[in-house]
Subunit: 342 residues, 2 copies
DNA sequence: CTGAAAGCGCTAACAT
DNA sequence: ATGTTAGCGCTTTCAG
């Protein structure tokens, strides 16, 4: 074992061709006669040739690779998006280098630098919840590397964005609740530094204002996008004996946190306190009660992001549409479907 | 914009050093005087130097990269494992190339070939549920590329494996159920071609036999590791009016499918039919009722796999321990905790 | 259709 | 402590 890899020159020697011919034949270059292509491919196969992609990339100045940066993996939303990005990449015949920031701005920056060093041809990124310095993104652009922001995007002009219509989605959820009769509505809002937090909060505000409802500052909580935040926020209000009738959470994990907390203190969701959230998950319908939500189609997000990135890679000059909004959909299950408080 | 990247020679020219000196300085090579290192690093930073990893890898014949192949991403078990692998890689200062087989043997093979072509220094893989031809794995070994199999492993001798003690875990779950009083126990077993299916099934059989319980062939279902399989299997038994008292599912997603199906036909879990599963998920405790399960510590699995792979990379000759069994843990929640049938 | 020459950007080995 | 030489394995001109 440990046979050293066969290279082009080995095949060339064996077949009495030049390495160039072998190289071209293996890539189906029209220069080469079909018959020789067949012969060469056969020999390559037989000899167990594996191309050295590193050498190829260096030589061709093309990596055929795109970089992806996400805050998390073990999270349904990102998991599905990544999966779909991988599926698309396969179609485009591109490799993916996936990196995970773990919601950490510094790691994120380091990953982006690595991706640049690896000469990725483009980047798809969903920024971390704590990213505030956008210099690195500008640097990427300055280097001429196309970058597409998905879902969580920085506030910079003239960048390519693929996102869900957060504001509208939140608005519709809240308006739906208000029409049901809800007035005491809380919003566990995450971070408003970042677009998804900001926009969803805005949608919430829009709906409340449109219907002349006051916003109770104590019921607008900030702090994160994960379960922990949902749990803590709920407990805070609970301990103050200041629970609303309905909680609108900025993400699905936050809602999960609320479920945990409610369960812990013995409060029944729907009867004692109702909930609706932004974001979806397959298991959501198995929660008890199944939660109603604003669905974000991850497949469409991923698909659009890939398409946009590819078109930017193909036509660096072309500007075109660079802010794609994917519509959301209000999925009603068993929460927030009737108002049954006092 | 689109300034072409600065390279070593650019810095060399500016500072009147050779490229070699620059190269060494940037890598903190002891050859270079600390003062020059500082000077060079400063200039590099100022000029916005980014190393070309592709060139570096080609030249040094070392990619500093390890390849990972998993069947799925949007699945709690794999998601957490991947996340942990990424965390570890960061510590070891290695890059990860993650690929997803989507439970497809052909894709898996293609990915492995790509990883080899990318000159990864090692591979961590959890094989697809339909992988039956193991030639490619032998080829990897023959090429001298260390490979570690995690959780889902092929049946080949003398390979490095990190897995949970599936048989024992399943045995304990079933024995627990039997002691509660359960006798009519079904097993939704997935595929027994693959180790996890085979071993868990064996554990089930062991426990049943030990306690002299008959195994009803109609209650041992095969077909997959996902929700669909759980749903379908349940429905099949339901329609035949042949439901057991307890279902033991081979994975967590399969249990999810059972929950869905039971809900759909109006059967209450625990009261009408009870369940326990292999595998865990964060949201599991939020299922209603929270499911009891055999927990597989993903962090430990990932950690051990990385450690094992790293030691194989460092010492290619060294054999040492190459079959690591991680113990499981029976987590009792609200299913399968009392026997309350007729 | 095929091949010879040159070089991608970097690093290892060996001078100096 | 710094530089010279050579080459990683491939692809891109450009000749023939």
């Amino acid at each position: 074992m440990n046979s050293k890899p066969v290279k082009l020159s080995d095949i060339a020697k064996r077949l009495h061709y030049s390495t160039v011919t072998i190289s071209k034949a293996l890539r189906n270059h029209p220069d080469i006669a079909p018959s020789t292509i067949k012969k060469i491919k056969f020999a390559a196969e037989e000899m167990g040739y594996t191309p050295n992609i590193i050498a190829r990339n260096l030589s061709s100045r093309k990596s055929n690779t795109i970089g992806v940066v996400v805050p998390k993996i073990a999270h349904f939303f990102f998991g599905s998006m990544i999966e779909e990005i991988y599926n698309r990449a396969l179609e485009y015949n591109y490799e993916i280098i996936l990196t995970v920031s773990q919601e950490n701005a510094e790691r994120e920056k380091k990953h982006i630098q690595t991706l640049m060093a690896m000469k990725v041809e483009g980047i798809i990124i969903s920024i971390s919840q704590e990213t505030k310095n956008y210099d690195i993104f500008k640097l990427v652009e300055a280097r001429g590397i196309p970058i597409v922001f998905v879902d969580r995007v920085p506030k910079i002009d003239n960048i390519s964005i693929v996102s869900v219509d957060d504001r509208d989605g939140a608005f519709r959820a809240i308006e739906h609740a208000i029409k049901l009769g809800y007035k005491k509505i809380a919003h566990f809002a995450g971070y408003t530094d970042i677009n998804i937090g900001r926009e969803r909060y805005q949608g919430f505000v829009d709906a409340m204002e449109k219907h002349g409802l006051p916003i109770n500052p104590e019921w607008v909580c900030h702090g994160g996008f994960g379960e922990r935040f949902g749990y803590d926020s709920f407990m805070k209000l609970y301990k103050k004996n200041n629970l609303p009738d309905l909680i609108f959470t900025v993400t699905y994990p936050v809602a999960l946190g609320v479920y945990s907390a409610a369960k812990e203190v013995g409060l029944k969701i729907t009867e004692d306190i109702d909930i609706i959230c932004f974001g979806n998950a397959k298991v959501q319908s198995l929660l008890s009660p199944p939660i109603s939500c604003v669905n974000q189609p991850t497949d469409l997000l991923a698909k659009s992001a890939m398409e946009l990135l590819m078109s930017k890679i193909k036509n660096p000059e072309l500007v075109g549409i660079n802010n794609i909004k994917i519509p959301t959909e209000l999925i009603l299950r068993e929460t927030c479907i009737t108002f049954n408080k006092n």
